[in-house]
């Protein structure tokens, strides 16, 4: 119920921000149309206004508002962010074309040396926006480290935002009207509050979100589990552990600074474990290798929980969990939580891995089978000769055998986590089986 309410509220807010300036401006700005202004000129104003509204939305989206990531999931939030960003680019392009089409003499505005400040600001914002889009589209071809890419992205986005604001201000056009000025002020204050939360409050709050490493438990030679507990001292006595829903994730950083690297990791432990929070991590990157080198007592700063990939947001008669490799971690959190809750519903787990050694938590899953109504299928893509279980790829035949009849399988919720190819293949099979789309949950994402 709360999930639906949050979704409705965010959708309403999104529509309100998009439409308010667009609806308000022509009413207030109407008399100026009689001022010999052309239709193309008025349309250019409309497109510019819409682009401004969308800019506000696209700045707010990736600002780690937990309610937002819980409502749409991180995959959805970033998908909307990219979609709206591209829509802004189209609208800005149209805005520029209409400005020139309305009066060809406006080509003079492209002369950076002699153009007025408002035109310079607009040019700067447009160039920064173009660079932003190029950087995003070519993200895989640009051989930058992720951190470099991220900071360039942030700086370009800040340039677009500031220069767009200056363009509107120096244009001294719509802002002359008191109501429009008030609307722009509300939007600007809203954006500043969200940015302050993201870039000032969250890093500063890091001192209140400080955890320490309790232990690092090896699972395989390349995978280990990081166990964290809240730092407890005189000043922070009684500080509670991280409250999360099973399947959610959190950003971890090793320093309380906005410049510090941080990466998202799924919480693997039960939501009812008490003070401890566990993250199972494959140490294959620079940051994850640093995590493995941590000692008990080392501080770690946690920003979370985030995400909508959780069983707590949906009513279902049972879960079907399909995990590839370390994608088992959110499933482990769900299974451990379900065991704590003494859940009696039938659940199914399909574990996909390359080799037997890549199948994680096999012993614990067998123990969980004794506490839960859990059917487990293990599938190896490169099985040894002695392997008698499933092998190859996840096909309709395998899933049909795992799932109940057509009516009952449509009442189940499906959680997919693993390599992109696996998730795509499984989505295709589920589509073939006519599983209702709202029942399928993935959180495969790309932060860049």
């Amino acid at each position: 119920m709360r999930h639906h309410l949050e979704r409705t509220l965010w959708a309403t807010a999104f529509l309100a921000v998009l439409l308010a300036p667009v609806l308000l401006a022509p009413v207030l700005h109407g008399p100026r149309i009689r001022n010999g202004s052309s239709l193309l000129s008025e349309l250019s104003v409309g497109m510019g206004l819409l682009a401004t509204s969308m800019l506000v939305c696209t700045v707010v989206l990736p600002s780690r508002l937990r309610s937002l990531t819980r409502t749409f999931g991180i995959e959805g939030v970033l998908g909307i962010h990219r979609f709206v960003g591209l829509a802004i680019t189209l609208l800005v392009g149209l805005h520029v074309v209409l400005v020139v089409a309305a009066n060809p003499a406006n080509v003079a505005l492209f002369d950076v040396v002699h153009a007025p400040d408002r035109a310079r600001a607009a040019l700067g914002a447009t160039v920064a926006l173009g660079a932003l889009i190029v950087q995003t589209v070519l993200r895989r071809r640009l051989r930058h480290r992720y951190e470099v890419w991220r900071w360039v992205h942030v700086v370009l986005a800040a340039a677009v935002l500031v220069l767009s604001g200056l363009h509107i201000w120096w244009l001294n056009h719509l802002v002359r009207d008191a109501a429009m000025r008030a609307l722009f002020t509300v939007l600007a204050v809203g954006v500043l509050v969200v940015l302050a939360y993201r870039w000032v409050w969250l890093p500063l709050r890091g001192t209140r979100r400080e955890y320490v490493v309790r232990e690092i438990r090896p699972e395989t030679p390349t995978v280990s589990t990081l166990v964290l507990e809240p730092r407890r001292n005189g000043a922070r006595r009684g500080y509670r552990s991280l409250a999360f829903a099973p399947g959610q994730f959190a950003w971890l950083r090793l320093h309380p600074s906005i410049w510090a690297q941080e990466h998202p990791f799924t919480i693997a432990s039960s939501a009812h474990l008490g003070l401890w929070t566990e993250f199972t991590i494959r140490h294959s990157g620079d940051f994850t290798r640093q995590l493995r080198l941590l000692r008990p007592g080392s501080p770690v700063w946690v920003d979370g929980p985030h995400g909508a990939f959780t069983l707590d947001l949906h009513r279902t008669t049972g879960l079907v969990m399909i995990a590839g490799g370390v994608g088992i971690t959110p499933m482990m959190s769900m299974l451990r939580t379900l065991a704590h809750r003494r859940d009696r519903r039938p659940h199914r787990l399909l574990m996909v891995a390359r080799t037997i050694d890549d199948l994680l938590f096999r012993a614990e899953i067998r123990r969980l089978q004794q506490r839960l109504d859990l059917t487990v299928v293990e599938l190896l893509r490169q099985p040894p000769p002695s392997w008698t279980g499933a092998s190859g790829t996840v096909g309709a035949e395998l899933l049909t055998a795992l799932l109940p009849g057509e009516f009952r399988r449509n009442q189940l919720d499906y959680y997919l986590c693993g390599p992109p190819a696996l998730v795509t293949d499984v989505l295709t099979v589920l589509e073939e089986l006519d599983i209702p789309q709202p029942r399928i949950h993935t959180e495969q994402f790309d932060f860049v």
Binding site: L15, M54, F249, P419, F445
Partner: protein, 299 residues
């Protein structure tokens, strides 16, 4: 296959575009059809309204706008010249021009108020540009720039005033244009008397058949010229229709582009099934794709 962009977002963006267009086009249509509060619609002409002083056409409105902007420009540069002018002569004529501009401003506000024509609050882009240029000058150089630039501006405005004065159907505009022409003529004389105007650098006069100012010289001149040549009441104007059709085509293209963007995510994902290493980074990846270092990791 699912798209990462919720359906409501795609609908909301498309709805916002359609609303923005509809409201703008409707508002424009409503205002251009019904015009000012005191006028009624003339069904035979686009942009023409009837007032108690006779029909008011686009050229009449543009004239008010253009003179207002020239007045703002002249007033601003005049005030500057009164303070920064190097010679006594320039400071004196700047004072006179300033006084005239004050009178002209009162008249134009009065006329525009009676005819219900809103006025701009800023000079044109070109005028603002040379006002900035003027701010950077000093001494004799300031005087020369002031005299030359203001003379060019007045020279551009005058033919438009006389053109509208000759053809307007509106009594109030006719009377105002006559007054404005006198004032502008007087300003040109003041400026020429300083001896600082370089006539060889003034725009060349066009042959009688083409005796309209070039469109590139000033932001609104082309509008005024077009409007001055616009069909009188009783004929139909096609410019707005053309603009509307062009706008609608662009908007349709925009909506199609948005639709394509909405499906882009799906296409990428479908492609990801074939090219495993190009897929997005994933916390569940069992092996590290070559691009992984570019992305945040969530394993």
């Amino acid at each position: 296959m699912r798209s990462p962009v919720p359906r409501f977002v795609r609908w909301a963006v498309a709805l916002a575009v359609i609303v923005a267009l509809t409201v703008t086009v409707f508002q424009y249509w409503a205002t251009s059809q019904y015009g000012t509060a005191s006028a009624y619609h003339n069904p035979q002409g686009t942009g023409w309204t009837q007032t108690q002083w006779g029909p008011l056409g686009p050229a009449d409105r543009d004239l008010l706008v253009m003179i207002r902007q020239a007045d703002l420009c002249g007033g601003s540069s005049g005030r500057q010249a009164q303070q920064q002018g190097n010679s006594v002569g320039v400071r004196t004529i700047a004072k006179r021009i300033g006084a005239d501009n004050g009178d002209l401003d009162n008249q134009i506000r009065s006329v525009a108020g009676k005819l219900g024509v809103p006025l701009p609050d800023q000079p044109t882009v070109a005028q603002q540009s040379w006002l900035r240029e003027l701010s950077g000058r000093s001494g004799p150089d300031f005087d020369r720039t002031f005299a030359q630039r203001l003379r060019v501006t007045d020279g551009e405005v005058l033919p438009v005033i006389t053109s509208v004065r000759a053809g307007t159907r509106n009594e109030l505009i006719r009377s105002f244009a006559a007054t404005a022409a006198v004032l502008i003529n007087r300003h040109m004389e003041y400026l020429e008397r300083t001896g600082l105007v370089d006539y060889s650098r003034l725009p060349e006069p066009l042959p009688p058949a083409e005796s309209v100012p070039p469109a590139s010289q000033q932001q609104h001149i082309d509008q005024v010229v077009n409007a001055a040549a616009a069909p009188p009441p009783g004929s139909t104007g096609g410019n707005d229709v053309t603009a509307l059709v062009a706008a609608l085509i662009m908007i349709a293209a925009l909506l199609v582009a948005l639709g394509l963007l909405g499906t882009a995510g799906r296409r990428v994902r479908q492609a990801g099934g074939v090219r495993q290493t190009n897929g997005p980074q994933h916390r569940g990846s069992s092996r590290r794709p070559p691009q992984r270092r570019h992305a945040a990791q969530r394993w």
